[in-house]
Amino acid sequence: MLREHLPVLVIIIPLIAAPLCILFRGRDQAFGIALLATWGSFACSAVIAAKVMASGTLSYELGGWPPPIGIELRIDALNALILLIVSGIGSVVAPYARNSLLLEYVEDRSYMFYCAFLLCLCGLMGVAVTGDAFNLFVFLEISSLSSYVLIALGFDRRALTASYQYLIMGTIGATFIVISIGLLYQATGTLNMADIAQRLPEHGYDRTVIAAFAFLVIGVALKMALFPLHQWLPNAYSYAPSTVSAFLAATATKVSVYILLRFLFTVFGVQFSFDILPTAVPLTILAILAMFIPSIVACFEHNVKKVLAYSSVAQIGYMVLGIGFVTMTGLTAGILHLFNHALMKGALFLVLGAVFYRIGSCNIDRMAGLARTMPWTMAAFVGGGLSLIGIPMTAGFISKWYLIQAAIEKGWWHIAVLIVASSLIAVIYIWRVIESAYFREPPEDLQNVKEAPLSLLIPAWILVFGNVYFGIETSLPVSMAELAARSLLGAN
């Protein structure tokens, strides 16, 4: 009986669990509730994904009002994939949080941490399933507000300023998105995304629509930290608690990329976004700059979390590059990279959480010789790092392979070369960490560090294993990404 209600269940399970955490208090009760809720919504997402792959787009009318009167949830292959990523990473991170230092830091308010975590999960998934433009903004703000709180829980005081900066930039971005939605509403009289898409060509692409497009792209670019609007991201991800960094780095920017895809291709339509307006050229240029400049900055950072944060900005570049090709292969590559990047960044940040748990730092010099004392942890880092570079047999290779193929298909050899070149920069910054951990003497006070506890290692290794598994057995993400790309391009 509940099967038909799955699209909404996936949202309301964490949404109901969040206030329950507050009512029950207690560290263990909150932990149990959070675990059940994240795993529950992961199970729902998996069923939804299977259903979408088998029988096509799902639609759910909230309040029983048919769209565009009421709000509609609409799930196609792309939404289903995003749901899987968000709830999957959430399911791995939720148990990890219990033993990381974070809960000791927040101590008697750990139940509130779980509450904020569930809200963030709920907001991100809410964005991923909704078919209504304004509703998308509301859930985007749920996820943003809770991530400001989560980031501010970092141990370093710089977490506070990072969170504040993110709050300012994020709110400007969100307000831009609201302006854009308002202009679209003024032009079409509706808020349902499918309905907007249908009514825009009738209305004509006038100056109002062009302004709406500009505001949307800039607003989303702020939210997803597209170079050069990325300034908030490196600090936010480096000073947030590791658990939070892992969760946000793997999911939050992905959801923003999803918003960009959805609006460019479905709402505005391929023809308007790329034929009438020359969007592809600036996107490609920014993507290439993003692939190089933050990567080079990453090579000079000493805080390994910051290295990964800058690398995240670079990886957004790959995704946007795939979008900028506006071809079937390019989009597939971009969407695949979205999935794979969640796996590798999630794994790497979880590893750093384990390192921090033992040595209280993520500085590259403090991590010297760590492979001797924490072999399993550092092996997991190597696994995630190889995937980030894009070595064959890892997930990272698959998406880069598709990306290069897409470039060659278009005859853009120079871009294919640039993709390989930027991967070489990734080799440098990952190698710096590996070199320090494997080939240097440990600092004196860190000679007797013990291996990280299993409760931290297992989640990290699950994601590392995911990187290898989806590097070999690629059918699931590739088929979903292809289906998603086809529906994005075919929507018009």
């Binding site: 009002w65 830091y105 101590e107 907001g123 370093d156 003024q186 009289g189 006038d206 109002t208």
Partner: protein
């Protein structure tokens, strides 16, 4: 015509208030002007028939927000430092953004046009059917709680999140916020 006159007067007052906010460096004055700005916005909402919104903006923007701002001032400081940099880049960004918006406004339906797309389609449906569907005469309430009830659920969640966030960040907890030491040994 009456509407236009009221509109122009309030908008002029709002402009003056904003200039005050930009120029002043006494933060208490800035915060009070911010509250006045919200109050003026609320009065313009009344002129534009948005009574529910006016009510909320007056209670929240001019009320609660201002109280929270003043509370923060009491805990921090009263005077803004003199800005050091020449704000050329921000100025350019704002002028360009504003120019894009004004460019976009050129093709908008004229102010008050009953036949604009925004005022037909979905909106007309609400006005026609609310009474029949829900029996609630205040259409705003009906749309808020029923037709777009899911949005309002999200809105309550947002305010819930903010409440949790403020408690997490500022609550009086047993221990202060001391960073935990790393664990060299496993916990028993």
């Amino acid at each position: 015509m009456m509407l236009e006159v009221i509109d122009i007067i309030i908008l002029t007052l709002m402009t003056v208030t904003v200039i005050g906010i930009v120029v002043m460096r006494n933060l208490l004055a800035v915060v009070m002007l911010g509250g006045i700005y919200s109050l003026l916005a609320a009065s313009i909402f009344v002129a534009l028939d948005a009574v529910d919104v006016a009510f909320t903006e007056a209670a929240v923007g001019a009320g609660i927000s201002t109280v929270l701002f003043i509370g923060t001032l009491a805990l921090t400081t009263r005077v803004e430092k003199r800005p050091k940099h020449k704000p050329l880049l921000p100025l350019c960004v704002c002028i360009i953004t504003g120019a894009v918006l004004i460019y976009g406004s050129l093709d908008m339906a004229r102010f008050g046009d009953p036949n604009s797309p925004a005022n037909r389609h979905v909106a007309a449906h609400y006005l026609e059917n609310t009474k029949k569907d829900t029996g609630v005469p205040n259409v705003v309430t009906a749309v808020l709680a029923s037709y777009r009830g899911y949005d309002t659920l999200g809105e309550v969640t947002v305010i819930f999140t903010a409440g949790i966030g403020v408690i997490l960040l500022l609550g009086n907890w047993r221990r202060g916020l001391k960073p935990p030491a790393p664990h060299h040994e496993d916990k028993a």
